[in-house]
């Protein structure tokens, strides 16, 4: 087998993977990026509305800082996030955005003087300060106290990804396009690279590396209705799971975005609502204030999606031949705003719905959107079980989002994680642990195993059809493991998925053509996707509470007493049809922000006795900090800067800071 040696192998060419690659390359490591598609076509490009960073430049952002971004993110996560990671993130996000600005991203800027905005269905005139003129502006997003989503029209991800890709090209980082990692090479404790399939020729190649980083994004395509690109099949998480050693965190935490266009599921950005758009029901009544008087359309995504489905279930949807949906109304924003700031939305409406959103309502319904779970790592993106295996971005669970991610925090996470994990990878490579020590027989063994697995599929004659089984899996996930979950439907899903797993081992290909062979691809991916789907379904069945996007109709309350725990799924027995689940505690006594009400959504939750203790401890601590500044107060509660690379520890300057 052809073998390629490199210091660092990054699997995935989106924002997280490329930023990690650039970081490691700058530290002198040889880096190769593998990508299923040309890197600029990665799903990062589909992020539309914005990237959260507490710059605080525009009027709606005045007074913003890391503390408020931290609190918003933790509340958004429904206290499922790792608060140290959230701190690392909120501290680094302004640096990430400023780096991208220097690299060429044309962030929209503050225009001094008066301008008209739409808030709560009404026009208002605001005045932006002279001093802020030309600095990076931001728009409002759900679940946040400030306007914090920095944006480039509604092509934010596109602009970021192009800039990032161009910088990677400038750094001379090779991207091996149309290459798919089929298995991680490992010895049970150390990862040594991957066996990779060329998606043009079908050839297998071994990539041997000191450090391997999974940055393959989410796995939305295990669902039938998803905003995700067709490549988001979770293969990075899948091959990590198939090591039998690495764990996946919180796989049951799946986000449904409120505004997928109906019925195709294509995303229209949260920026529509952030900029003042409204949700209307079948009678064109604005219903969100009835459910969520505080945040209305701009509660967190899990809450808005649930309220929408609740409203439809109560018989208030609009009806078409495809089924029921609701309306997104952005007409009130006006033609000029839509044509400048929501142009992708306008194009999507034109091409896929044949409507003009300046004049017409957009049919929407929640659709699967984001995977909060992924490859479990430490604060530096390193797998605790497999040394040399890293993960970053949506594919990872260092656990910044807990059970619900805020809009605009994902593109921000990709870049921030890339900045932090890229450094950690370089540190690892130069450490004694990072030495390349594997035997060539191990590589050959893994190569032979993958060759045999593909041959077994190609020669199979069990009569099952890969495409049909995939569809069955997707329909099961959408029907049974969606926004509203309960034991009966989850148990049914687990059984169906077990059956599909057995059947997926009896696929017959109708075609064994040379080269890419899309049917073979569908067959081997299906086996991995079914394992991921089972982690989601089985994890959801076991979690007998409601937290963030995981809502159990039969256990509607958040249960801090029993479920301040992160689910860890592993798959030690390749022949098993269920994952092995374990749990790790979230330590309330170390939290900067102990659990409470989120400020929107249900007020009713089961308290943990430690919450009050920690609250008292914090109050006592704060009493001793008279006269301390914001940074000192924070450091006393939960120090985190030691976890960051040294060059990312400095304070973020803002407009109006004393210099």
């Amino acid at each position: 087998m052809h073998t390629i040696y490199t210091d660092v192998l990054v699997i995935g060419g989106g924002l997280a993977g490329q930023r990690a690659a650039i970081g490691a390359r700058r530290r002198g490591q040889e880096v190769i990026v593998l990508s299923l598609v040309p890197a600029k076509r990665s799903h990062s490009a589909a992020a539309q509305g914005g990237m959260q960073a507490s710059l605080g430049n525009c009027l709606g952002a005045a007074g913003d800082n890391e503390d408020i971004h931290f609190a918003d993110t933790v509340r958004g996560s429904d206290w499922g996030a790792d608060q140290e990671v959230v701190r690392m993130f909120t501290h680094t996000a302004p640096k990430a955005i400023r780096e991208l600005a220097a690299w060429g991203v044309p962030w929209n800027r503050v225009q001094r003087g008066e301008r008209e905005i739409t808030v709560d269905g009404k026009k208002q005139t605001i005045t932006e300060a002279d001093a802020a003129h030309g600095l990076i502006t931001a728009r409002n997003f759900g679940g946040t106290q400030k306007w914090r989503a920095c944006y480039v029209s509604d092509g934010t991800g596109h602009a970021m990804l192009y800039t990032m890709s161009n910088q990677a090209i400038a750094a001379g980082i090779p991207v091996h396009e149309r290459m798919e990692a089929l298995a991680l090479i490992h010895d049970g404790g150390r990862c040594h690279g991957a066996i990779v399939r060329n998606l043009m020729s079908g050839e297998l190649v071994a990539y041997v590396a000191r450090a391997t980083c999974i940055a393959t994004g989410g796995f939305g395509r295990i669902y039938r209705v998803s905003t995700n690109a067709v490549i988001n099949e979770g293969m990075g998480a899948g091959i990590a799971l198939e090591t039998g050693v690495a764990t996946l965190g919180n796989m049951e935490a799946i986000q449904f975005h409120p505004t997928g266009i109906f019925p195709a599921g294509i995303l229209v950005t949260e920026g529509c609502r952030g900029d003042g758009g409204l949700l209307l029901d079948g009678r064109e009544h604005r219903f969100m204030p009835d459910y969520e008087p505080e945040k209305k359309e701009l509660a967190s995504r899990d809450v808005v999606s649930r309220r929408m489905e609740e409203h439809i279930a109560a018989g208030h949807g609009a009806s078409t031949r495809f089924g029921e949906h609701l309306w997104l109304d952005i007409r009130l924003l006006g033609a000029q705003h839509i044509n400048n700031n929501l142009r992708e939305v306008k194009e999507i409406c034109q091409y896929f719905l044949g409507i003009d959103p300046v004049r017409e309502l957009i049919p929407v319904r929640p659709a699967q959107h984001y995977s909060m779970g992924g490859v479990r790592t430490d604060h530096h993106g390193h797998s605790p079980q497999l040394r040399g295996l890293f993960a970053a971005g949506e594919a990872a669970c260092w656990d910044m989002h807990g059970f619900n991610r805020l809009g605009g925090n994902s593109v921000a996470e990709t870049v921030v994680a890339g900045m932090i994990v890229g450094e950690a990878i370089a540190d690892f490579c130069v450490s004694p642990e990072g030495a390349l020590t594997l035997s060539s027989t191990l590589v050959e063994e893994f190569g032979r195993r993958e060759t045999r697995r593909l041959a077994a599929i190609a020669e199979g004659n069990g009569g099952e059809n890969a495409f049909e089984l995939t569809r069955r899996m997707q329909e099961t996930m959408t029907a049974n493991v969606g926004i509203f979950r309960e034991a009966g439907r989850l148990e049914e899903a687990v059984i169906i998925l077990q059956d599909l797993q057995r059947r997926s081992r009896a696929i017959s290909l109708r075609n064994n053509t040379a080269g890419a062979n899309p049917e073979l691809v569908a067959a081997y991916r299906l086996q991995r996707m079914l394992k991921l789907a089972q982690c989601v379904a089985f994890g959801a069945l076991q979690r007998t509470e409601s937290r963030g996007a995981h809502y159990r109709a039969d256990y509607p309350r958040r249960d801090d007493a029993n479920w301040m725990r992160r689910t860890l799924a592993s798959w030690p027995d390749a022949k098993a049809t269920l994952p092995t689940l374990g749990y790790e505690p979230l330590d309330i006594m170390r939290m900067e922000l102990p659990p409470g009400w989120r400020g929107y959504g249900a007020r009713d939750y089961i308290d943990n006795p430690q919450t009050e203790l920690r609250q008292q401890q914090i109050e006592a601590l704060q009493a001793t900090l008279e006269g301390a500044d914001r940074e000192e107060r924070q450091a006393a509660l939960m120090p985190f800067k030691q976890l960051l690379p040294e060059h990312l520890r400095g304070p973020n300057q803002r407009l109006g800071d004393e210099s």
């Binding site: 799903h43 044309p106 990076i136 502006t137 396009e177 079908g202 080269g515 990312l648 304070p651």
Partner: protein
């Protein structure tokens, strides 16, 4: 562009596809016709996926975002380059002919290697901000201000999704393999406009000041006619040509 004709119910589409698998020594280029029952709001993405799933699993094509954002699915649709994912079948006649984009290396059937071409273009034209001190940036400091209008102009040019339609529609590109295409020239205008890029017109001239660059354009306007993002390509090329004449 946005004219939606009256719904024609119950059509059976005949989709004729130019097929060839260069990795199969026995494969010869051929046209193959598939019949598909048209559904409501059917796009070519849906139709082609259905053909692969139900009729011929060996059929190759590229879709990623299926939302008109990523630029993967450029192909020749009834003689014109376009994005297949956002092409509704109801806007097409009952008989649809699909072929891979010309000017790019064929991977198989409708799949072409635009990625390799675009990477080569980026490396050659150095499509990134050239600026001293990018590695030693002070990330703590307030970002330098930029005029809001300039940021919007930059984005206007940056909306290119490198789908390759402009190259496939370009007369020069059919004759000269080394022509950088409207996609490349547009990126030069984008970086030239960007004050963060310190390159001079003389340096840009080195990159595009010949027949493989801005002087190769014959102003046939195929690029602008087919650009799925409606970029003002012809204007940008004309503008760049004037600047380059002055720089040369």
């Amino acid at each position: 562009m946005n004219q939606i004709p009256v719904q024609q119910v119950g059509r059976t589409l005949q989709i004729e596809i130019l097929r060839h698998n260069p990795y199969d020594p026995a494969s010869k280029p051929r046209l193959q016709t598939f019949e598909v029952e048209e559904a409501d709001a059917m796009t070519l993405f849906i139709a082609l996926s259905e053909i692969r799933e139900q009729q011929d699993p060996s059929l190759q094509f590229d879709f990623v975002c299926r939302a008109g954002i990523c630029g993967s699915c450029g192909m020749i649709i009834n003689g014109r380059p376009g994005l297949a994912c956002r092409t509704l079948t109801r806007n097409l006649p009952q008989r649809i002919t699909l072929a891979p984009l010309p000017a790019f290396e064929l991977i198989g059937d409708l799949s072409v290697n635009t990625g390799k071409w675009m990477r080569g273009m980026s490396e050659r034209l150095e499509t990134w901000v050239h600026s001293q001190g990018l590695e030693g940036l002070d990330l703590d400091a307030l970002e330098p201000a930029m005029e809001p209008e300039l940021a919007e102009q930059l984005y206007e040019l940056e909306r290119c999704i490198e789908c390759g339609c402009c190259v496939a529609a370009c007369g020069t590109a059919q004759m000269r393999e080394d022509f950088v295409g409207a996609v490349g020239l547009n990126q030069i205008t984008r970086f030239r406009l960007d004050p963060r890029d310190e390159r001079s017109d003389a340096q840009f001239y080195e990159l595009v000041g010949d027949e493989t660059g801005v002087f190769g354009c014959m102003t046939l306007l195929g690029c602008e006619d087919t650009c799925p993002k409606d970029l003002p390509l012809a204007t940008q090329i004309a503008f760049l040509r004037r600047r380059m004449v002055m720089a040369g």
